[in-house]
Amino acid sequence: MIAPRTELSVTPVLLDQSARPTARSRPSRLSPVRRLAWIAVTCIAGGAAVKYSAPVSVNPPLALEPASAPWARAPQSVGEFGKPRFERGWVSPEAQLAHVHCSMVSALPSGDLLALWYGGSREGAADVAVFTSRMTAGTKTWGPPVKVLDRASVEGELGRRIKKIGNTVIFPDRTGRLWMVYASVSLGGWSGCALNIKSSPDAGLTWGPSRRLTLNAFFNMSTLVRNKPIYAADGRIGLPVYHEMATKFPQILWFQPGPDGTVEDYKVRNLGASKGLIQPVLVALGGDQVLMMLRDTSSQRALRTSLSTDNGWTWPDPTPISLPNPDAPVDALRLADGRILLAYNHASSGRESLGLSLSSDEGRTWKKHSVVERETEKEFSYPQLTQGPGGMIHLTYTWKRERIGHIAFNLAWLDQYRELAGGALPP
């Protein structure tokens, strides 16, 4: 029989058994009086913890903000039913950096558009920085890039070692405050990402300090972000995120914005049980329904969708739809008439063409609309859609990893466009 040991050792660092001869031994058990005293302390501490650590909300949202909420709605009417408009341009300047990628565009309550992307010597390099550019309401040109984040500034704000920064999203809340959630890596590759949040009270002119979000139990690694959120009527924001380490799956980060740019409460929920699906896109359909679309990293290479009927709280397993997916992100937008516009790479491999599709039946069937970019052995990817002033729809995307492209069009163009002879791209 093995004699009971008073201590257990794991590693030399934890091992301290040689100290035993000098130790003044105490009884192995707490005395009855001490037990009662500790139990009383536990009850007090537990009662305080239960009372004061209660989360803001752990229940599903009762409703989502409709797409036409005043704080999110861009002025409608002009251009929607008029002459078709289709314009091409650039968000990032020519030869700004060797590598630019992963754009995001957001329509601000003021009517401005704010675009964001990251760039540096290469993806994942230590010199990668995040830039914003603004298109002021009533104009058609993007302002000069403004650096809003780089590795050094993030290190300073978070007080820790940062190896690189990556995917970043921006979105307004119901009060007009602009939020930024960005990925940073301290160790390893993208699957070692952690998310951080900060906000701007003046629509992106100045930014508050960063806060690290602890979203994963294992060293808080491997939560990434790519797409825009949905908004609950109670003020919570549901941001689609995803996990990549060991197994890939989509998640949703629910957080409650507090006053002055604080985060009152946050939690992350897993979405469905399927593996290999990342970068979820959420589209609020109304009537408690939310459509999720997912990038497929599996060998099946088909776009997947899932429909939540409780405002994005629970989800059935995603199923493949008729559209292919070459392991590339997509974005979708619900139009004012209820149709869903999808920007995506219509191929099962390669990102050589970027196109649009429309669904009139809440994502059940899709009709291919147009191809807006196409070139052999080049990359057009990471689309982002938003609807801005005058009902104009704005698409930003990675253009050959050299620039951030921008296409603006209206509903009239969407309705009246017919593919040009020989498959030529829209001018």
């Binding site: 008073t6 201590e7 000098t22 500790w38 139990i39 939690k267």
Partner: protein, 211 residues
Amino acid sequence: MNPAWLPPSDALAVFAAVWLMLLGFGGRFMPLPASVALRLAVAAAAAGVMLVPIKELQLWNWVFSYYPNPSLPILGLLIAQRSPRFLGVTIFQSADWWATWIFGAVVGSLVYLQPLIFGRGFDFHYWGWHSNYAAAVLTLTAIMFLARGNRFGVLLVAALVAFALGALESTNCWDYVVDPIYWLASVVVIVRRGAIAGWTRRQAKLSQTAA
């Protein structure tokens, strides 16, 4: 929760964890019994090492970069392991250690392996954010240990207080009671003990057969 003149409590927790680990390393070179002055000198030296800058970051800050949420049980078990040598007091006895390791192995496996064990449909980690439920469960578990006179319950009370104060960077209750290093250490200890017990039993059987 910290006054402006104090460093954040999450940084202090990491500092304490690494300092206690270094203290164990330094203690190995101390003669037994060591004078109070020597013990204090080793403790001060360990704290000094923590402040050594490596590529512009102090040592403790490097650890904070990768391990920002040391659980309260790991701080407690490090104190319990250092105390015989530095304070001359044995805080934990065998039953307390066993409770510490079994709790770490079980809760850690549930929290860290849940997507692999249960699939992503069952989200054990998420329940750590139902903080009033989690606090209630933690209180009951602590009372259970304390009612049996097990001192591991005290570490759970400390976790409960830290959770109520929001002392760590995380807002998830599980991060206050378990962390990956504590979990891995618990699994290693239990597997090692199991292997030793099995080997000893086998040897005893063999010697009986030979006799």
